[in-house]
């Protein structure tokens, strides 16, 4: 295969769909380091990118990989890296730097069992809180969790677009099951894919502020070599990018970093909600667990049990308002996760004491099956 098979229908692996999604989004630069279970993303791009004259490099570690794509993005290239748990831990340094300096990039973290080396070839959803809070200090986070191969493709394109639109890193987090499964995928036609090109300022050189305060909190970003000369630092900085400790400038920067996300939740929020209005039990899930939930719902429907499903596709920022509006009146919410309980705390936070929020944990490296969910639903009913 060469390039994106526009309009064709093929049997495609999740990680492969991520790589092809990156090509569809016009990726210019990839830097990565081999790690299971994400390596296919790097391998496919290593094969495809030189053919179209795009830059690909295997760095000496994951810290170097994310550092390189930040440099690449600042120099005008649409940039991405792909990793898994241990590599994601190492990338927290660069992730925080990119949040602080407002550099668009896409980070793919294919989740495997942890902590530490854990279960390298097996599935988990243990990085959900790390993706939100892993790097030090308050910072924005946009995290997307695909549940099938088509979404691996579509959400990769979307991740590039959101990164540009919000000038911030976007994390795509398939779990290992989604990264490694194969499904039939009909690729869109090239003209059907919307790609937001890298921004560029439209002001004279002397008017340019690298962190101009706009209504959305995000301003067009110039690139190194474009003639707009600017300074970038991980130190807290003023609107021109120069270090500052002035209270008003520090507070303004920190507020803008937060508000550029919180003021535009409508753009970011993306949920798949099935039959939640009229059901006895809601399954709240994401990633591969959503597939099992859909299957369990069908099985239970035959037994005349009414099950609703609430699945955030964008897991961070968390869909607070919708969860509160739709789920706070429910009797029972089952929260199955491939970890010892992470997202469940968000659901608990947003629901009253009268709502029973029941966990279902699995962290042995295997997926939660429809049968497990059926049994759990019948138990809580």
């Amino acid at each position: 295969m060469s390039g994106v098979p526009w309009g064709e229908t093929k049997l495609v692996q999740g990680n492969e769909a991520v790589a092809l999604g990156a090509l569809a989004a016009g990726i210019d630069f990839f830097a990565g380091y081999p790690i299971t279970p994400s390596t296919e993303v790097a391998e496919i791009l290593a094969r495809e990118m030189p053919v179209i004259g795009k830059k690909w490099i295997q760095m000496e570690d994951e810290i170097a990989s994310i550092s390189a794509i930040i440099g690449g993005s600042l120099a005008g290239g649409r940039s991405m890296t792909a990793t898994s748990g241990p590599g994601f831990s190492l990338m927290q340094e660069g992730l925080g730097y990119a949040c602080m300096t407002e550099v668009p990039l896409v980070l793919v973290n294919v989740m495997r069992g942890g902590p530490s080396t854990g279960l390298p070839t097996q599935v988990a959803q243990g990085d959900v809180m790390q993706a939100r809070w892993g790097t030090h200090g308050d910072h924005p986070a946009i995290v997307l969790a695909p549940s099938d191969v088509k979404e691996c493709f579509d959400l990769t394109v979307k991740a590039f677009n959101l990164a540009e639109e919000f000038r911030t890193p976007v994390i795509l987090m398939p779990d290992e099951v989604i990264g490694h499964m194969r499904e039939k995928l009909t690729f869109p036609k090239e003209e059907e894919v919307c790609v937001i090109p890298p921004s560029s300022p439209d002001v004279p050189l002397e008017w340019y502020e690298h962190y101009h305060t706009s209504a959305t909190g995000v301003s067009p970003m110039a690139h190194f070599g474009s003639g707009y000369r600017f300074h970038v630092t991980g130190l807290t900085h003023d609107t021109h990018g120069f270090p500052t400790r002035k209270v008003d400038e520090v507070v303004s920067k920190m507020n803008r970093l937060k508000q550029k996300i919180t003021r535009r939740l409508d753009v970011l929020e993306n949920n798949m909600i099935h039959d939640v209005e009229n059901c006895d039990v809601v399954i709240f899930c994401y990633g591969s667990v959503y597939r099992s939930a859909l299957a369990a719902q069908k099985i239970l429907a035959k037994q005349r049990k009414k099950v609703g499903i609430f699945r955030p596709v964008t897991i961070w920022p968390f869909p607070d308002r919708t969860v509160k509006e739709m789920l706070d009146s429910k009797e029972v919410i089952l929260v199955p996760e491939l970890n010892q309980g992470q997202i469940i705390h968000e659901v608990e936070r947003l629901t009253s004491d009268s709502v029973r929020v029941v966990p279902l944990h699995r962290f042995d490296g295997y997926e939660i099956t429809p049968e497990q969910l059926v049994a759990a639903v019948l138990e809580v009913m």
Binding site: S2, I69, I70, S73, H223, F224, T233
Partner: protein, 278 residues
């Protein structure tokens, strides 16, 4: 307005940046002067230059110069620079780092930048300690020296920056110091003039921390130590081993013309493209 302003103003940021953070007697400003003179003599367009740095005293340099400037995380200047160079090969990438930044936390990156022969010029200011955090030992602190974390003297052997980068494959490797400034200007100019990975180590005094801890006197005394304790490679070759004993050799140690990474990558793209066309 004066008839002829010193040329350095063209390269410095006018507003809000000065006074700089460096202590009186620090050598880093002299290295910055050398870099500016080298770039001025090459006539480079400011828009084409990217100065990238890590964390530490030396790594504060980019804020003062009016290039494209990138102050990154500790040790990672070369990794950020690698990405920027690949995404925009027209950029002339200049990495400024200290000895702790480049040799300890960034040690892996400099080995691999050297091995790849990545098209970046690295200027490493070696003042034998971590100045910004108050004078702890670095990988280039000489054995026996006192620092705030070697109160009884340094027991670890030190790195030789030039030998390390030479062995790892850098195209150009030189060592100068901030006393012999004209020599340093020339080294930096030569480093900037070629392709591949290019290293200039600049020895510099840190009178506030290293000098004080080791009773090396004030800044002037420390400059005199550089004058007395270093020797040019040409002079050293004429003298007997006894006479050069204990002196640090200055000079250009490596000046290869091996093909740089970016050119190799372009060749790869051309090759695979022609194979695909077949």
């Amino acid at each position: 307005m004066p008839a002829r302003l010193p040329y350095a103003y063209k390269y410095l940021r006018a507003k809000k940046k000065f006074p700089h953070v460096w202590c009186p007697g620090c050598g880093i400003g002299i290295v910055m002067g050398s870099i500016i003179r080298a770039i001025d003599s090459l006539g480079w367009d400011l828009d084409d230059i990217l100065m990238v740095s890590g964390i530490g005293c030396t790594s504060r340099m980019p804020v003062y110069v009016d290039f494209n400037t990138l102050h990154t995380t500790h040790g990672r200047a070369l990794a950020f620079g690698t990405g920027a160079k690949m995404a925009n090969p027209k950029l002339k990438v200049l990495a400024v780092m200290g000895d702790g930044d480049s040799m300890a936390i960034g040690g892996n990156h400099i080995i691999h930048a050297s091995r790849r022969n990545m098209d970046i010029t690295a200027i490493i200011v070696n003042n034998n300690n971590y100045g910004m955090t108050g004078g702890q030992f670095s990988p280039t602190t000489p054995q026996g020296a006192k620092t705030s974390t070697t109160p009884y003297g340094m027991i670890e052997p030190d790195f030789d920056i030039c030998k390390l980068t030479e062995a790892a494959g850098a195209n150009f490797v030189a060592r100068g110091d901030v006393y012999h400034v004209i020599e340093l200007d020339g080294m930096i100019k030569k480093a900037l003039s070629g392709s591949g990975f290019r290293v200039v180590e600049a020895l510099a005094p840190c009178p506030t921390n290293f000098g004080r801890a080791n009773r090396q006197g004030d800044a002037v005394n420390m400059m005199e130590l550089l004058k007395d304790n270093t020797i040019n490679i040409a002079q050293a070759s004429k003298l007997s081993k006894e006479k050069t004993e204990g002196k640090t050799v200055r000079g250009i140690f490596v000046d290869r013309d091996e093909i740089g990474y970016l050119e190799r990558y372009e060749e790869l793209c051309d090759r695979v493209l022609s194979e695909v066309k077949k």
